[in-house]
Symmetry: C2
DNA sequence: TGAAATGTGTTGAGTTCTCAACAGTTGGAT
DNA sequence: ATCCAACTGTTGAGAACTCAACACATTTCA
């Protein structure tokens, strides 16, 4: 992609996040963004139709960035290293994700993340579905809610324990559901 | 001026300064700069003919920035506030000016600064020249050398005393030459 | 030595961004 | 109520930047 596109989008998103933290979504104007980012106002409209669209794209971008940080650990699924790198990434970008998970994200961020995690969980457990008396939907809902819940708790309470601890605790809680998966999948 | 020009020049100069600090002038390539600044190589040539020209422009820019920080104190000339703001600015941008005053600047920076200060000094003392037995040239040379000398000492020795102290000391040393100027000019 | 790799400086076509101007909307002060 | 100021969203012309390609010089190292 043209470098100019990368740079202006990056610049717009960064200042958008900053302004979101400073004054909240409804008080932000396109003028604000353009001025602060030192970009022509028209250029913003070249990339986003309005500030709602900008929020959408912003959430989408940061969802992707978050997911990239567990996908690059070669064995993708339920492994300590994957969880660890996700929480490390969250720690590093704490202020942004706290913002997106807060009311400023209007729940869109949470919903989007939930959907993706749920899909992943579904994919994993469906492989091992035959000998299971439980509904897969219920299991997915349960596990995903649990995981997202822990993630939200950790962010909203400003990381009350370190990465090592959340990761271990989470693995311990998931163990009953992952151990027989391990034996069959791997 | 077009925002794009500002931004790319800023970006090029910043990475040039960084690279100057890292590897020194002769090891820098235009490729380095373009790559690090995330700018097309051709674009560098749109603004600078080669890296020597870039060094020149860089020096010129930082000379101007330095001078701006004493010009905006309304009473321009020999006033405590003027000295103070210059040294404060130097303190804030210490690493850059240390670099430019070092061998990396090839003496160009010093010479350029010297010329400008000397001109200012000449202008000031020429007003008060009639009753003076001394050659104005000698006086200019003496005062300018003294001032630049202190400035270089302060930067090269990594600011061995605080801004307040250099400023006061300098004012004290200049007092014999400024006090009768005061009575006539102001 | 001679070949491969890296850097220089330039070109032209194509894309993105800027700027200034426009008409229309909104919110707050008088 | 209405005026003013600020914001929105759009347009067209022109400037800046990107990209790929080029010929040529310099360095590296086998």
């Amino acid at each position: 992609m043209d470098r100019r596109i990368q740079k202006t989008r990056q610049s717009i998103m960064n200042t958008f996040i900053d302004l979101l933290a400073e004054k909240g979504f409804e008080k932000i104007t396109i003028n604000d963004i353009a001025e602060r980012a030192n970009i022509n106002r028209g250029t913003v409209y070249l990339h986003y139709v309005d500030k709602f669209d900008l929020l959408d794209k912003c959430i989408e971008t940061y969802i992707e960035l978050l997911l990239n940080h567990c996908a690059n650990s070669t064995d993708t699924k339920l492994k300590a290293s994957a969880f660890q790198s996700v929480f490390e990434y969250l720690e590093k970008n704490f202020t942004i994700y706290k913002l997106l998970l807060s009311n400023e994200g209007f729940g869109f961020f949470r919903n989007r993340l939930f959907a993706i995690i749920a899909q992943t969980v579904t994919d994993v457990i469906s492989i091992k579905s035959e000998n299971n008396a439980l509904s897969n939907d219920v299991t997915t809902q349960f596990l995903t809610s649990g995981f997202i819940g822990v993630l939200e708790w950790w962010i909203n309470n400003s990381m009350p324990c370190n990465v090592q601890e959340v990761t271990e605790q989470l693995l311990f809680l998931l163990e009953p559901y992952t151990k027989h998966l391990k034996t069959t999948i791997i």
